[in-house]
Symmetry: C3
Subunit: 342 residues, 3 copies
Amino acid sequence: MHFVRNAWYVAGWAKEFDHELRHAKILGEDLVMFRASNGEVAVLHDRCPHKHLPLSKGRLIGDQIECGYHGSVFGADGKCTRVPGQPRVPPSACVRAFPVHERHDIVWVWMGDPEKVDPDDVFDLDQLGDPEWDAHQGDALYIESNYLNVAENLIDPAHVTFVHPTTLGSDAHSEVPVRCDASADPIYTWRWIRNAPPNPFFQNYADFKGNVDRWQYLYLYLPSTAVIDFGSADAKPGSTEDRRDEGIRLFAVHLLTPVSERETIDRWMHIRNTHVGDEAVARVVDEMFRTAFAEDKIVLEAIQLEEEKPGAEPTLQLAIDQGSIAYRARIKELAEAELARH
Amino acid sequence: MHFVRNAWYVAGWAKEFDHELRHAKILGEDLVMFRASNGEVAVLHDRCPHKHLPLSKGRLIGDQIECGYHGSVFGADGKCTRVPGQPRVPPSACVRAFPVHERHDIVWVWMGDPEKVDPDDVFDLDQLGDPEWDAHQGDALYIESNYLNVAENLIDPAHVTFVHPTTLGSDAHSEVPVRCDASADPIYTWRWIRNAPPNPFFQNYADFKGNVDRWQYLYLYLPSTAVIDFGSADAKPGSTEDRRDEGIRLFAVHLLTPVSERETIDRWMHIRNTHVGDEAVARVVDEMFRTAFAEDKIVLEAIQLEEEKPGAEPTLQLAIDQGSIAYRARIKELAEAELARH
Amino acid sequence: MHFVRNAWYVAGWAKEFDHELRHAKILGEDLVMFRASNGEVAVLHDRCPHKHLPLSKGRLIGDQIECGYHGSVFGADGKCTRVPGQPRVPPSACVRAFPVHERHDIVWVWMGDPEKVDPDDVFDLDQLGDPEWDAHQGDALYIESNYLNVAENLIDPAHVTFVHPTTLGSDAHSEVPVRCDASADPIYTWRWIRNAPPNPFFQNYADFKGNVDRWQYLYLYLPSTAVIDFGSADAKPGSTEDRRDEGIRLFAVHLLTPVSERETIDRWMHIRNTHVGDEAVARVVDEMFRTAFAEDKIVLEAIQLEEEKPGAEPTLQLAIDQGSIAYRARIKELAEAELARH
């Protein structure tokens, strides 16, 4: 399995960065990161070319990194500006610098071909930055599982009944058919539960007269960002997806960063169109999601361990897997196309 | 090294099973086990064929297992009876079920070819179930060593002097020759110490007038069950093995379950023909064995680590190794014959 | 990478040995060691040839080792003298014994071809045993890094400014050029800081009138012993290395024992020509070195982890690396010459 390299991945929430060296591993590569005095985040390969000490073990001298072993100095662009003990800096003494873009309080890093970098490609969503909506950053959840396992879980409404019985799911949903548009971009799956009582969360924060129409829409943006739109609106015959803004909507956004072949960071946040600016509601939502995603983590880590056992047979494909099958096929295609170009 | 698969292995003491999912690893295979409402123990491969979540992470719905990820349901026979979200159950959605047999409060599982299964082959011993004898289940001792190392230790009286100086052995024995019938089934080794003072344990629980004849008989049943018959009787010229029932006999029974190539569970119990029904005596015996077997564990785990070092030369064969040599040869033969049939 | 086997390596400080079994690993080989009643240290391969139990898990019977599994007995020369249960000792029942030599309270073991052993080759230094000098054994520092990484650090004055800013180094040194005699035996590097204030340590223990000339001489004896001569003398135009005995000299001696490909024990001691016999000064010096070498350990272990990552590119060579480059080349030559003879 190869990673998709020509993509923007989340390096962290903007608030995590300041004028301090910070290590991260993304797509198996060790990176050193810091926010320079001009406010921009720099990301470099975390290894001095001389004796290979990680640069994150050195220190910042202004906006440059001094290696902690022999004091070679590197700028935010990766160029070496000083080698103590010799007047000339060898041209090969440089480290790879990675393009960075900050948007909506999230720092993204480009892990691929520098010639293909385009800040316009950074993930965006209309509701982010819209004053009618409230966006709230949650946790950076570390999951010992390949990111494909994590991502397919996020386009899979069928697991909710069984993995999240106390939070997001209920037995009533288990036979509601899941629909999928596997050729769309983003790939998405959805289902409607018509004319049913509101679930406890939506009941508490809305003023529904009676039964509601409930929906789940799960969007998966390549390579690894998911937006899950949960919502409820007063039950009405013939409702369609266009009517969603009449109700209460709560988005769970998952920004997946592959750390290694077997580790992923799932930075999740939520966006909602109700109780905008109400921190207490934000905390209630976060706590609900925190509980639910911890349940996913248990399942995803168990599956990873099975995957690593020798001689594991292929998984069985079911009707509910359409989104996952399409997603894995597209990732494979992207990764193979990148390899072919090398 | 290959395991002997066409054999009954211990899955656990009968008392360990109830209406709850329980994981075990036997011969490197992950199993999920539970006692159904009809009293029978079910053993299945511990992996849902869909996304490979271990079934032991799901839950029991009556006498069926519901997978904890997407709710597929499997019966005790491994057949899938429900896939939520689709009307038809795919024929390939099933998991392997393993034959089980319970005898003398021990649950055995058949790990091999289902066509060769025969409950009559489950290990038995006349003294088990005989009211003149008291059988007492001890511990499930986890040993990080290949089961062949553990088994050969159990047919090897020569180590007792050096590994168990404070419990089972004494310097006096070290030069008493060990005899072996390597062609018998079970393979067995033995030695007699004639006309010697009784050892402390037997002295405390018998009424010997003076010196005794002491014996150790070690029986090894393929693939991995050992019965060690320790005993003492009043010293008498010309005593033979037929006279053993005139004395006090104490059997240590070791039921070895290979977990992986480097792990074994040694479930041990004892059987005795003295103080039948006396729980206090049973506890004294167990405590003595618990101390002794912990000493074996140290040796067997150290040997395993040596075995795993690169470039280890072959072991040296001594006169005391007859039983072990015969045992390893027969296991090799059995395992190779099984492979040849595939 | 292969080890240099035809060499004396440190097995321990003499004071670490008494009439007790002790395990060590050197060049990846497990050894059992003890001091016999004649005062000589014996070193044997730590594995009984029978079932491979480490002999260090057995016990001393006089000056022989009794295996803890079946009681076979081995002398300090590795010959087997007893196998319980059989009258004849098989000729192949012996373990490898390693030549040992003790000098200046250090025990050295010869890991190579027994025909090439020569006690005259054991490392020596004029100042060891000289009553004008005080030699003080420090610690056995365990470092998870290949010994070549550790050794090259010891012939590298350039790292001192950056790794030891609070103890041995100062920014003032970083541009003083390092000189190297890469063809000498031992290889050595050096630099002089002329007419500068004494550093705090030398100031406290000497009576300098004003500025001093300071020096660092780093000698690397193959395969893995380093002597670092730090010193200061009253500043005088035209000083040369011959003048070092006019000042205060402090030697850090590092005796490296490769444990495995990724582990090294650095037994360090110091020798000084001031305050001879003053234990309080010895403790101050040790504490300073202990702090500094713990800083090296962090760097060397981080480098080892980088070295083990897949696909690591070669390190970059700088002007300061002359000593290290020469050292690694000579080790390679020695190891390859040994392999060629086999």
